[in-house]
């Protein structure tokens, strides 16, 4: 198992948010998606550091969009999950499922 495929908790959250957003994933939308889904606001520094780290690990690819006046003429950096990123997310999902398997939680319905 490659170290790059082992995800930290926040890395996992970020990758899932990017997968949910598809082609619209960039800093602002990722932060909003995480906030909406997890009810927690990620620190901007942590988010961008995580995005850079995931890209360095080869789990993300990025491309620049067109600059817009609303952003002071700065381009959006769109990110996509790479094949290795998909593999890492799938690996994390399997690990979580194995951990949850057979775990009795009174009052909580399992999906």
């Amino acid at each position: 198992m490659s170290d790059a495929l082992v995800l930290g908790e926040f890395e996992h959250v970020v990758l899932l948010a990017i997968l949910r957003l598809g082609d619209r994933a960039y800093g602002v939308t990722i932060r909003n998606e995480i906030q909406e889904r997890t009810r927690r606001e990620p620190a901007p520094g942590a988010l961008y550091t995580t995005l850079d780290r995931l890209e360095d690990k080869g789990l993300l690819t990025s491309s620049l969009g067109d600059p817009t006046p609303q952003r002071g003429g700065r381009a959006k950096r769109y990110v996509r999950v790479s094949a290795a990123g998909m593999e890492a997310v799938e690996h994390a999902r399997r690990c979580y499922l194995r951990l949850w398997e057979g775990l009795p939680f009174p009052g909580v319905a399992h999906a």
Partner: protein
């Protein structure tokens, strides 16, 4: 907006230029709703987070670079100081001669020599710091600003030595500021050259 340019410059100290621009663009997009204070907090927290992340990822490597940089700056300061002192020797000799000939009072001559020594010492430290900044940027590309921040944190320890403190009576703040600016300027120059 002017603040976008400043924020982009600040972020480009710790991020590649294209990433710094897109991050500032993200903050600018939300700044209309959330305000200028939120914008600047985000910029500063992103810089801080990046520096911390670099430090945590490779503490020993960066520590090694900082230690060698510290040694290099000390050696460079000494060499520059000797060089400047030799270059300004005629002024020292002229001051001593004028004092001997009673053209200058002893106290004035003493003050003049002390002032010149402080100026030479400060200039030597600034030149050495600039070169150290360049050296650090070559040894730790993309993490040079983190190394410079570590170096700045350690630098005041140098002034614990009374022999060095003697050269900068009352001017420690000015001297340290000059040294810090020179260090970052050296690193910035290499980074900018690499980006071009």
């Amino acid at each position: 907006m002017r603040e976008l340019g400043i924020a982009e410059w600040l972020l480009s100290l710790v991020l590649p230029a294209d990433r710094a621009a897109s991050v500032v663009g993200d903050f600018a997009e939300e700044a209309d709703e959330r305000g200028l204070v939120w914008f600047w907090l985000c910029v500063l927290r992103t810089v801080g987070s990046r520096v911390w992340s670099d430090l945590v990822e490779s503490p020993f490597y960066l520590g090694g670079v900082v230690l060698r940089g510290y040694f290099l700056s000390g050696l460079g300061t000494l060499c520059c100081f000797v060089g400047f002192a030799v270059a300004m020797a005629p002024i020292f000799i002229a001051t001593a001669w004028l004092e001997h000939e009673k053209v200058l009072t002893t106290s004035f001559a003493k003050e003049a020599v002390e002032f010149l020594t402080a100026v030479i010492g400060t200039a030597a430290m600034a030149v050495a710091a600039f070169q150290t900044g360049r050296w650090i940027a070559q040894r730790a590309p993309r993490r040079e600003m983190t190394a410079c921040v570590m170096m700045c944190a350690a630098w005041p320890l140098m002034f614990n030595y009374p022999s060095i403190g003697y050269w900068f009576p009352g001017n420690l703040i000015v001297c340290l500021s000059l040294v810090y600016v020179s260090l970052f300027a050296g690193a910035w120059r290499v980074r900018r050259g690499a980006a071009c």
